[in-house]
């Protein structure tokens, strides 16, 4: 699909929102047209051909039929059901399915559509400031910026701690078939605030659709954001997600990406350590089967001294699936005493599964400690023997050891109820 179709869709959008919005959209649309969609000739898309998405002829997603019930959401209510939950169906905020009444003072959760009217200044200050639309690699971000209609906006005032996690749940129903939604989220953490969000994408049916999501996270000095992204789209669906964070001094951004859905998915998680004393942790687990493709791109930019970053991504690939991990770590010349560690481990359960793993460290400071390591392998023969020697049959051994491989990274999840749920999801998959 060329960008022309999206230009046509763009032209039919009714102008709405504050005055600064239209130029932001128009510029993104222009950049998309000028650059076009990437192909595998683009370095950032070298391992994943986005053609199934770019040639997919997706129409703007139809609003939900209104038949989605609370009961339909139960399988996706991770952690505790009473956690504040902001539900979007087919890309639109669904107030009757959402529950955001129990938030403490200093915390605001709005839909983007209403925030454009109620918080125009906050949005003008932050929306589109982190997620770049300029390069071809970010054509989908440009498309999102041009077409965004709804999403979640979270604002946490300074010195405010949000004890309960906030769940942003994006579901697609049967009406999503053939459509594309462009969820756009903004998280603004003021000085010394703390919060945990779960950003989950799921499908209630087996529709073929595209989710093209962008989430920008602003962390002021001393802020801490735990950000869990769960990608559980339908098996025929496509998912492109771009998360971009910018961290002020002494802030902590802790990300965990759990990806098991979609026929083809792309998961960008970028953070900029833009103040001294920051920490970033980007962990992830992706489990694929059949002919699924999942491309994980991370970028950690050390722009200031004395920051640390930790990264562990694990993939379990079965069938003829294809996984990609590209971990970029940039260390700017001023970013002395950077302490960075990156690990990518892949377990291949099938001879036909494939992984492309590419650590990409570009270090321009001389007094830093940066390591990376990647392993690709099958189940450990000795561990297999160990379990069998206790009488455990071959099939159970394979499943338990596969789970054990995943458990190492799942154990890093600090949010205990969510960790237990993801462990269960993983265990069910292999038991």
């Amino acid at each position: 699909m060329s960008t022309a179709t999206y230009r046509d869709q763009f032209n039919t959008l009714t102008p709405e929102g504050p005055a600064w919005l239209a130029p932001l959209r128009a510029r993104a649309m222009e950049r998309l047209e000028a650059n076009g969609f990437p192909t595998t000739r683009n370095e950032d898309w070298h391992f994943t051909n986005p053609a199934p998405i770019t040639e997919g002829a997706f129409e703007p997603m139809r609003p939900a039929s209104g038949t989605v019930t609370q009961g339909d959401l139960v399988p996706f209510l991770v952690g505790h059901a009473e956690w504040p939950t902001v539900v979007f169906v087919n890309g639109r905020y669904a107030p009757t399915l959402s529950r955001v009444d129990a938030l403490p003072a200093g915390v605001r959760v709005l839909s983007l559509a209403s925030a454009l009217h109620e918080e125009p200044t906050l949005l003008e200050q932050h929306l589109g400031k982190l997620a770049s639309v300029d390069e071809q690699a970010f054509a989908f971000t440009a498309l999102n910026t041009a077409m965004m209609r709804d999403g979640a906006v979270l604002h946490v005032a300074k010195d405010t701690t949000v004890e309960t996690p906030i769940h942003l749940l994006f579901v697609s129903d049967a009406g999503a078939n053939g459509g594309v939604s462009h969820p756009r989220n903004l998280v603004v953490m003021e000085r010394h605030s703390r919060a945990t969000i779960i950003e989950q994408y799921a499908s209630l049916g087996d529709a073929r659709y595209l989710t093209n999501a962008v989430t920008e996270c602003v962390l002021a000095d001393g802020a801490t954001l735990h950000h869990y992204k769960l990608q559980r789209e339908g098996q025929q669906a496509f998912h492109v997600g771009h998360i971009e964070a910018r961290q002020g001094r002494d802030s902590h951004y802790v990300s965990f990406a759990f990806s098991i859905g979609a026929a083809l998915s792309r998961n960008n998680i970028y953070t900029m350590l833009a103040g001294e004393g920051c920490g970033a942790t980007l962990n992830g687990l992706y489990m694929l089967d059949g002919d699924q493709v999942c491309d994980n791109q991370t970028r950690i930019e050390h722009a200031e001294p004395n920051c640390y970053s930790r990264e562990m991504y694990k993939g379990i690939l079965d069938g003829t699936s294809h996984g990609v991990f590209n971990g970029k770590v940039y260390v700017r010349p001023v970013a002395q005493k950077t302490d960075g560690k990156q690990t990518n481990k892949t377990l291949l359960l099938s001879d036909k599964a494939r992984i492309d793993t590419k650590p990409q460290l570009e270090i321009f400071a001389d007094d830093v400690k940066c390591t990376h390591g990647a392993t690709v392998g099958k189940l450990d023969q000795i561990a297999t023997f160990y379990m069998k020697s206790r009488g455990v049959n071959a099939d159970t051994t394979r499943r338990l050891l596969t789970y054990a491989f995943a458990a190492e990274v799942l154990e890093t999840i600090e949010l205990e109820p969510l960790k237990e749920d993801l462990e269960k999801l993983t265990l069910q998959r292999y038991l």
């Binding site: 160990y386 020697s389 338990l400």
Partner: protein, 253 residues
């Protein structure tokens, strides 16, 4: 119970076991001693079915059946147990889950009913006492982050749960302080039954003060070069192995 005849085994192209013959009867404790690289751990692992070794000759009969034809899990179902020299860490799988799975698989293979988690806990309470382990150990991942002593005790705990007929301890004493050694040996002794046998592979005589063998065999160069009673272990402790290495190898029978 166990009749090993002229057993040969390789790692890759390298022959490690060069004709081992050994008979172990029910109720007996056999110690296998020998210098590093003599093949004693290889013998233990070959008996358990380690995939890294290739048996190139000889036979092993266990309770009248061909042990070498059995997969490792089938050997376990038949009552063979190897306490590993280096127990494997399995993150994310709790000790309780692992032990119950193993326990039930062995029961199932022997035509017994599986037990549910609650009943299994009762089984465990008693077994834990045997190796002086705390119940909290059950909730930890198998061997994950365990100290050397905890790992060895966990091996004996597994042995206590599975109640093997033929227990093979592969250097279970190495790396243990005297207290842990006493606990481990005490566990092994309490698990002995008239119908079970124990093979203790060790580098040191020390363990044999606690687990008293009926027979001691010295392995060197992939062969048994000397066999005797428990006094042989004391002689080895006093004189080392060198005096045996010069003697011609005993003819395997």
């Amino acid at each position: 119970m166990l009749v090993i005849k002229n057993l040969h085994a390789n790692v890759g192209d390298k022959e490690i076991l060069k004709g081992i013959s050994l008979t172990v009867n029910a109720g007996e404790v056999h110690a296998i001693m020998g210098p590093n690289g003599s093949g004693k751990s290889t013998l233990a692992q070959v008996l358990a079915g380690h995939p890294g070794y290739e048996v190139t000759g000889g036979t092993v009969e266990y309770e009248g059946e061909d042990l070498l034809a059995m997969d490792p899990e089938v050997r376990a179902h038949h009552g063979v147990f190897l306490a590993f020299q280096y127990p494997i860490e399995i993150p994310g799988v709790s000790n309780a889950y692992f032990l119950r799975t193993a326990y039930n698989e062995v029961r199932k293979a022997n035509g017994k009913e599986e037990v549910d988690p609650m009943d299994f806990l009762d089984v465990m309470t008693e077994k834990l006492k045997l190796v002086e382990m705390d119940e909290a150990m059950l909730q930890r991942s198998v061997n994950s982050g365990f100290s050397g002593g905890e790992k060895k005790r966990n091996e004996i705990l597994q042995m206590a749960v599975l109640e093997p007929k033929l227990a093979i301890l592969d250097e279970t004493d190495s790396g243990l302080d005297i207290d842990a050694l006493r606990i481990v040996a005490n566990g092994v002794n309490k698990l002995k039954r008239p119908d079970s046998a124990t093979i203790v592979v060790t580098h040191y005589q020390r363990l044999l003060e606690y687990i008293v063998p009926d027979f001691v065999h010295v392995l060197a160069g992939g062969r048994i070069v000397k066999s005797g009673g428990k006094e042989l272990a004391l002689e080895l402790e006093a004189k080392g192995y060198d005096w045996l290495l010069d003697e011609p190898a005993a003819v395997g029978g």
